[in-house]
Symmetry: C2
Subunit: 292 residues, 2 copies
């Protein structure tokens, strides 16, 4: 059984590491939060004083940090890449732009280590229940080395391609669909409200028709509230659709729907609604079309 180093023990990382321990893996973890390290120890893991200490003697180094910049800091500035054993596998599970993953992979490879790109979806609930969707990319033989680790954390483990960055692209495409699906519900509601259609009945009808989407059913009800609970903020989609459009620029792909949707989230953030629930992108449509 491979020895795992785990850096980034936040809301997602801690339950993921706990599931590894539950399945019998040896896990040495590092996080800037002492509370997170205490919790890891309670779950049976070992604490390290730094990322490079955690990576020492490990076969796989899992990075569940916030973004690509943090991953780079851990690997290249914090020294974890050097302490990871020769030919060890860096498992980059944070959500990063595809181009950043490609750049990181190149540096990891030049240092004689390997990288698997493996973003996740399923949220904190999926992390706790070990039901994450894991979208892994990298050479098949490297993927096979860490597959037992993935199977301990998720129940929908996909090998989406041979090149690191392809996993990040699948996650990027996922966010493209999610962001446009939210914005188009707002666009539909704005049009219907122009002629006084009852939006609650409209939502009920659309939820049961070919017009339905996961986002329609989830965000639709909150779109009809003036100050709903924040489950995910407008600024998350400002960032994520930004990553989508960056991926479009890097690959030279025109993405007219994603670009238009991004503008609506951006405007919402610009009006001061960045920390509101992302369903409130509807306020951009209301403002634009002069609907009270």
């Amino acid at each position: 059984m491979i020895r795992v180093a785990f850096v980034g023990l936040g809301a997602m990382g801690l339950p993921m590491a706990s599931n590894l321990l539950r399945k019998g893996f040896t896990v040495t973890g590092f996080d800037l939060s002492a509370n997170a390290l205490n919790a890891l120890e309670d779950a049976g893991g070992k604490r390290a004083g730094s990322a490079s200490e955690a990576a020492t003697e490990a076969d796989a180094l899992i990075l569940m940090v916030v973004n690509a910049a943090q991953a780079e800091a851990v690997l290249f500035e914090g020294g974890a890449l050097e302490t990871l054993r020769e030919n060890g596998v860096v498992v980059l599970m944070a959500t990063c732009p595809p181009a950043a993953v490609e750049a990181i992979e190149e540096r990891v490879r030049r240092a004689g280590r390997r990288l698997i790109d493996a973003p996740v979806s399923g949220g904190v609930a999926g992390a706790k229940a070990a039901t994450l969707t894991i979208m892994a990319a990298g050479p098949r033989d490297t993927f096979e080395v860490v597959k037992p680790v993935f199977d301990a954390m998720g129940d929908k483990v996909f090998h989406v391609g041979e090149r690191p960055g392809q996993g990040a692209m699948v996650k990027t495409v996922n966010q493209l669909l999610c962001g446009v699906h939210i914005a188009v519900v707002a666009e539909a509601f704005a049009l219907a409200s122009k002629v006084g259609v009852d939006l609650n009945i409209l939502l009920q009808i659309m939820s049961g028709s070919a017009a339905s989407s996961w986002m329609l059913k989830d965000r639709g009800p909150r779109m009809l509230q003036s100050a709903p609970e924040v489950t995910s903020a407008v600024d998350i989609f400002v960032k994520d659709l930004g990553i989508v459009l960056d991926a479009g620029r890097d690959t030279k792909a025109a993405l007219p729907l994603a670009a238009a949707a991004h503008q609506m989230f951006l405007a919402a953030s610009g009006r001061g609604d960045g920390q509101e629930d992302d369903s409130q992108v509807i306020r951009s449509y209301l403002a634009l079309n002069g609907i009270k």
Copy 2:
């Protein structure tokens, strides 16, 4: 039990009229097709020689014709509005632009009759199984008069508003969501294919995630075929998103996502793919982004 005249006995209309007969309604029908009239008689209905003859003595005149122009021709040129009894109810079930419905309703009202605007969704299968979704608008008391008729043809009957045209708007909004949902899947596939992600695996992942939509699951698989079966043509969405944008113009609502999606269907039709399956809007993205 109210007496029903039924004009437009096509793929949808005939099974709808048959369901009315099965529930004990008296139905007198008209269609330009002799075969359709024979089939109505076989189902227990009466045939008429014209729309105005069918409407004579009827309490409700159902129009299941192709578009608003045909509805106008039946009512105002064919004379059916005059033969329908005073205060009788015109039930406009064809898919029409909201503004056209409002114009028709005004003329019907001035002639001393009433109008309920009641487009449907659910397709031929729903028409046969009496499981249509019916989106009816008009004064509540008028709606109640014809509700037993609706209940005989559908199982999801909604009163969406007091003003005729609001039903058409709900149907319009439905098509806005459907059209954008198809186009955004094509946009997502185009981006992913730029980096060689396996699109079959991508579709499988997206179908089980928050990125899912009814259209993703239905059109996604056909989008990955080069010449799929045609279940609904590109030109249907050229028309339907055209109705959406007309509704936006009439109500002065900016609809950036619907407008961008319409361009992609329009370009597909312009390249000669109008009669292809609407999933083939992906060819617009492939052409635009130079993807083989």
